[in-house]
């Protein structure tokens, strides 16, 4: 190993997660390299700090369990009592003896007892279940299957491939007021949105703006205290604004409430009928990761690319969400006065400009990698005749990039087959470029 190992490699080394050969190569490098040895010592110090944190905070400062632990043996007995016990039936002896005899005769695989077959079937189910239960990875989203690091968004955000925000009917925009008055108008609402945009509170904070009861209602549930202070301070000078910030109320569900429709089954639930469905199609993304390693020169560069792509996706999706929200909130802006329309379109343009930065990074870094994997694509922009329609396309293309790149890089486990992942991803990047240009043109009208 002549070059200095990546930091991620060093961390995997001290965590004992490297295969033997690679681990020995890192060890040899460390023996010779002061710089990397110091880096490892620094990592170890931070790890030691984590250990102290676990001991001093997690173990001591967290409250102790509020009650005595239940007698677990009694619970075991309860489970045993519920499990149907095998009665003494003479034919079972015969079956057991026959099973043993078959085992001796070397035909055990064909005569495996029911329990073993069930256990094997259960394991197969469990693997599928594991692959399918990614939706629980992100506690900030209702059903996230992606493992990017999104900013905190509202609970409507979903990491699943389809992110459904309740559709809004394409009603004309509300009549605009010429000047802000004692009753809040759309101008006040846009002013509030501009102020929130100025402190980036439209990029993931669970804050909603609406117009009702003659006031602009700014509501937020579960906003972090520090953030809430900043938002309230920014809103302070604005007229006709009602601020409704709260923590979610305590409302436990009945103990036996049914699980949500998409919730994963309990781990001891019987396997569903379709448990044998393959979780990963033949074009397993793992194969792409090996090819990426070969193309980029090892795991380190792939990890670095992964980190970059995660960052770009995070930035792109934050602005794509915000842009889409504007488009849904104001599905038509013809009836607005000049100033309001300019404000609204200015906000939309800001998000497009911000989105163009990660897109340029995708084009500069990711596209050559995809081409190296043999990707080819000629996707074009979707047909939209309003900037709001184009905004939706921008969102969908951004979402496709996020999902496909996560699959390609192994950040998200695959749930379905993709015939040609690199080409699909390249197509999504091209599509986003075309949609973004189209959106900018439509906004410029």
């Amino acid at each position: 190993m002549s070059n200095h190992p990546e930091q991620s490699l060093l961390l995997r080394y001290i965590d004992g997660e490297l295969p033997g050969r690679k681990s020995r190569a890192v060890q040899r490098h460390l023996e010779a390299c002061w710089e990397c040895r110091t880096e490892v010592e620094e990592l170890q110090k931070t790890v030691a700090e984590c250990v102290r944190y676990r001991k001093q905070i997690l173990a001591e400062a967290f409250p102790a369990p509020p009650r005595e632990w239940r007698d677990i043996y009694r619970e075991f007995d309860r489970i045993d009592a519920q499990t149907p016990r095998r009665a003494f039936i003479p034919w079972r002896w015969g079956l057991a003896v026959a099973t043993a005899a078959l085992a001796v005769a070397g035909v055990a695989p064909y005569a495996a007892p029911y329990a073993a077959r069930y256990a094997a079937k259960y394991a197969a189910y469990h693997k599928v279940h594991e692959a399918a239960s990614v939706n629980i990875g992100d506690t900030n989203s209702a059903a996230s299957s992606k493992i990017t690091e999104p900013p905190v968004r509202s609970s409507t955000e979903s990491g699943a491939v389809s992110v459904e925000v309740p559709p809004r009917s394409a009603v004309p925009s509300r009549p605009a007021a010429i000047v802000p008055g004692p009753t809040a108008s759309i101008s006040d609402e846009l002013l509030v949105m501009s102020v929130l945009h100025g402190i980036e509170a439209d990029l993931g904070d669970p804050v909603q703006v609406s117009l009702s009861d003659g006031r602009v209602q700014v509501s937020g549930v579960g906003v972090a205290p520090e953030r809430k202070r900043k938002i309230l301070a920014a809103l302070e000078p604005l007229p006709n604004v009602a601020r409704n910030f709260s923590d979610p109320p305590l409302m436990p569900l009945p103990k036996d409430a049914p699980l949500p429709k998409d919730a994963p089954l309990p781990s001891d639930a019987p396997p569903p009928n379709n448990a044998a469905q393959p979780a990963v199609a033949s074009s397993a993304p793992g194969a792409y990761q090996s090819r990426l390693e070969a193309q980029l020169g090892g795991r380190g560069p792939v990890d670095r690319l992964t980190a970059q792509v995660l960052n770009w996706n995070e930035s792109a999706m934050a602005h794509a969400y915000a842009l889409r929200l504007l488009a849904q909130k104001f599905p038509a802006d013809d009836s607005m006065n000049e100033q309001d329309r300019a404000t609204l379109r200015g906000l939309a343009r800001d998000h497009l400009v911000a989105l163009a930065a990660p897109l340029a990074d995708f084009e500069r870094v990711l596209v050559p990698v995809l081409t190296g994997l043999g990707a080819a694509s000629s996707r074009t922009a979707g047909a939209a005749d309003t900037w709001q329609g184009a905004a939706e396309q921008v969102f969908q293309a951004s979402r496709r990039i996020e999902v496909l790149s996560s699959l390609l890089l192994g950040v998200t486990p695959a749930r379905g087959g993709y015939a040609d992942l690199p080409s699909e991803l390249l197509g999504a990047v091209n599509e986003l470029r075309a949609d973004l240009d189209q959106n900018q043109r439509l906004l410029g009208r």
Partner: protein, 184 residues
Amino acid sequence: MPGFPIGDELVGFLRPDRHVSELQDRVAKFFEESRDDVYRYLLTLGLHPPRAQEAVQEVFLRLYTALKKGEDIQSLRGWVFRVAHNHGLRLRERQASESPFGPALEMRLASKADDPERALLERERMAQFHRAVEGLSEQQKRCLFLRMEGLRYPEIGAALGISASAVGEFLRRAILRLKKVRDE
């Protein structure tokens, strides 16, 4: 996956009580050793203490059921934390309207240092570290907490539904951010 070895049906049938009793002892011992760790992990997920305690017991009963059914579990700790993580998140989803548990830990921090000045500094340092941990992304936190509990990358990946290399990346980011705080 071996499940019940061949002939185990016969042995289990002949000596069911002993088989059950050994399994109970095994899980009970593991429960005693690990329950506090799992309980704390569930608190970090945002479960309130009574619910976290209930969930811990539920997880170990599931472990007992799984082993009783013959499930081959390579790492009991990895299994328990994976199931605890999934079960904890499911509880949180089912009670989405409830505010997550977030105690003012900084107020509870106590330093063991004799020197009051040192104790104050130590307390401040830990509080700063705690704030930095709180500032990590959800995935970084999950990976970090599970790693602190001794889980290996593939086990963490299995719990969170991500690849082991993604776990490595999240941990690297987390450690890097915490290192910055430590250096400040």
